[in-house]
């Protein structure tokens, strides 16, 4: 029997995902038609042996209840949300709920960060782990460029055994191009290692009179558990070459959308409602005029209305939004209940990894550059935003429920 744990953090994290996370918790933001962590759940549920999925975070239970319910029904697997009473860090929450994870004595459990997107090769990862009896944790790793590697957990492996001999989280200088994907398989004995780390953290907390950490139970999985395990023959890394990305900024949503669509190749209806350029996810309850042209890389949510002569590409349109006649939407996210007027143009700039650099990842650019100007990014319309007819909205971010009255370029509209 196996289990899976998905770490989703809480509302005080994921601020770089604003304004998309203002209405929907980031883990539930739809990518390729499915909430971000439903892709994780689907991957776990595919494995027969996986009997329970535990979601750990500090969102309130009410924010997750409906989703957990829906997932239970869809995947016929036990899914529970465990709310941290206070943010305990990536390791603290996991350790806090150790009894829940150990219950039923699974032979191992998967650990997945909620903000990564990938083809999760869980079966291979588990087999790899099984083949190495001394392994407590096996990390899924991928290649990054030298320049970008330092923004991730960097690993050095012993060439033949694949044991991790050195692990450092976000180093200041170059260490290795093999990076941690935030996807692991762990043996239950890892909790003994965590207990020792927990003891060290607590000792440190009290000897420093609580000055060096927000909470005695606060623990970083990467720094307090993985780093010490390196070089002990208990930590291994399996390198994968498939697509992988983090979803940190709102801009990465469009990039992740494209790749998940490609990965899942949503089935097109036998008689498409309009001209579709694959890949497109079209919710069955969306109303689409036959003269619209949609795709590639578009996700259209439930209850969306798309009028005559509309063109949409490289975008996500959330539930119940309306795109009026002849409008163009590209490299943008249109929020729930938002409206784009006729002959309007809503356009963003893609922030994809450099296609000419092998292994390049998303640059999770800050909103503003060093001159204090908005970096070109995808255009985002918050929930309920109204874009009037015949205007252009270029590389702009509009916070929820704003009714615009003119065109905007390179602006954040509060």
């Amino acid at each position: 029997m196996l289990k899976a744990v998905i770490l989703i953090g809480g509302p005080q994290k994921g601020t770089r995902f604003r304004p998309l996370s203002l209405d929907t918790p980031k883990p539930l933001f739809p990518i390729a038609g499915l909430p971000l962590i439903q892709h994780h759940i689907a991957a776990c549920a595919k494995l027969q042996e996986c009997k329970e999925i535990l979601i750990i975070g500090s969102y309130t239970t009410t924010q997750l209840a409906q989703f957990v319910n829906d997932m239970q029904k869809e995947y016929h697997v036990i899914i529970r949300y465990l709310q941290e009473f206070t943010p305990l860090g990536t390791g603290g929450g996991l350790y806090h709920f150790r009894d829940q994870i150990r219950a039923g004595n699974p032979s191992a459990f998967f650990l997945l960060n909620g903000d990564v997107c990938a083809a999760f090769p869980l079966k291979e990862l588990w087999t790899f782990h099984e083949e190495r009896p001394s392994a407590l944790v096996t990390i899924m790793g991928t290649e990054a460029t030298r320049q970008q590697s330092i923004y991730y957990g960097c690993m050095v492996r012993e060439a033949s055994t694949k044991a991790v001999t050195h692990y450092v989280e976000k180093p200041n200088t170059y260490v290795s191009t093999l990076i941690n994907c935030g996807v692991y398989v762990c043996s239950l004995q890892v909790f003994q290692t965590m207990a020792e780390a927990f003891q060290r953290k607590q000792d440190g907390f009290y000897s420093a009179n609580g000055q060096n950490s927000p909470h005695p139970g606060y623990m970083s999985w990467e720094q307090d558990v993985l780093a010490p395990l390196a070089g002990t023959n208990k930590l291994y890394a399996m390198q994968v070459t498939n697509w992988w990305s983090q979803v940190k900024t709102a801009g990465s949503a469009i990039y992740a959308n494209r790749h998940y669509l490609e990965l899942h190749r949503p089935k097109q209806p036998a008689t498409p409602p309009c001209h579709i350029l694959p890949d497109v996810f079209l919710h069955p309850t969306a109303t689409v005029d036959s003269t619209a042209v949609i795709g590639p890389n578009v996700s259209i949510g439930a209850g969306v209305t798309i009028k005559a002569g509309v063109r949409i590409k490289e975008s996500i349109v959330l539930n119940n939004a309306t795109i009026h006649e002849h409008a163009l939407v590209m490299y943008s996210v249109v929020g729930q209940d938002a409206s784009v007027g006729e002959w309007s143009r809503v356009e963003g700039t893609p922030s994809d990894p450099d296609p000419n650099k092998p292994f390049a990842k998303m640059d999770n650019q800050p909103l503003f550059n060093s001159d204090g100007r908005l970096n070109p990014s995808i255009t985002i319309l918050g929930a309920g935003v109204v874009v009037p007819a015949e205007t252009i909205l270029l590389n702009s971010i509009v916070l929820p429920h704003k009714h615009l009255t003119r065109s905007f370029k390179h602006e954040i509209i509060l």
């Binding site: 003269t291 006649e325 002849h326 163009l328 002959w343 015949e390 252009i392 270029l394 370029k409």
Partner: protein, 369 residues
Amino acid sequence: MCGSDKILGEIRALILVGGYGTRLRPLTLSRPKPLVEFANKPILMHQIEALVEAGVTQVILAVSYRADDMEKELKEQVSKLGVSLTFSHETEPLGTAGPLALARELLNTNSEPFFVLNSDVICDFPFKELAKYHKSHGKEGTIVVTKVEEPSKYGVVVYKENGQIESFVEKPQEFISNKINAGMYILNPSVLNRIELRPMSIEKEVFPFMAQDGQLYAMDLQGFWMDVGQPKDFLTGMCLYLNSLRQKNSDKLHDGTGVVGNVLIDPTAKIGKGCRIGPNVTIGPDVVIEDGACIKRSTILRGACVRQHAWLDGCIVGWRSVVGRWVRMENCTVLGEDVIVKDELYVNGGQVLPHKSIALSVPEPQIIM
């Protein structure tokens, strides 16, 4: 004494066509400026028709460039109007007065006054009234003046209540007059004695001296006036011109579904379904506007195509150019001849040279070579 048009019958006119028309590039890279269609008619034909209407029988074009093209094309159109067309070629640019000296022989054949006009001017041409007024005061010359809102940008004309001009003041800092030279004159042949065959400015080197001698009068222009020598003013002039057509209840203006405000559409143009055209749009012969396009304050020249769902505001689309589907163009974008703008692009204030294919958006105003 001047009750009969027959007296005006002998009047000649000289049009200062001049140089390369660089201000109206990229359109003038393909066609000499006087032949660029303004409201579906070459700029020059607006002037010649108005002159013919006033009884002019000989038009002299003072040109310094691409005269061959113009001669070929104009001769045909002009012969229908029953007026003779003469070209006076400058070997070097002679300014605004020099061309009169060059055409001295033609202008001196009788003692009747002759018209002189700049080729960029569009207005309700007042040639008949001008000739009458000129005869009535009996002095050497009359210039048409028009009112402007911001006189400090121009040279203004100061004149007495009876019309006699006192002085010209260049770019006045303090308000002194809001009347400027509208680029249309009527002159007696005696004025030729004040002009030499060299580059010479009529505004600076002839008129001030005539004013000093009390020989120059001003006549107020009624209605609109525009120098359409550059794209921005070309479009403004088009709006004024179409509005003037509306006031004259002209049947040339187009009505029908999808048409808003003053719109001129050549009968050979094809307009698709679900379009919104206007206000202030001119669509030339053989133009195709596909379904669902929206066009405002723009001129679409002969043979161009605006494809589905495109949105245009404040644009001049050159001959045989193609504007792709879902393209947005605005802010005084000018496409030269045979330009292709690919689907879904945004062009903001682009000046695109002829025969160019645009595959990337132009988010800020720039010239596309």
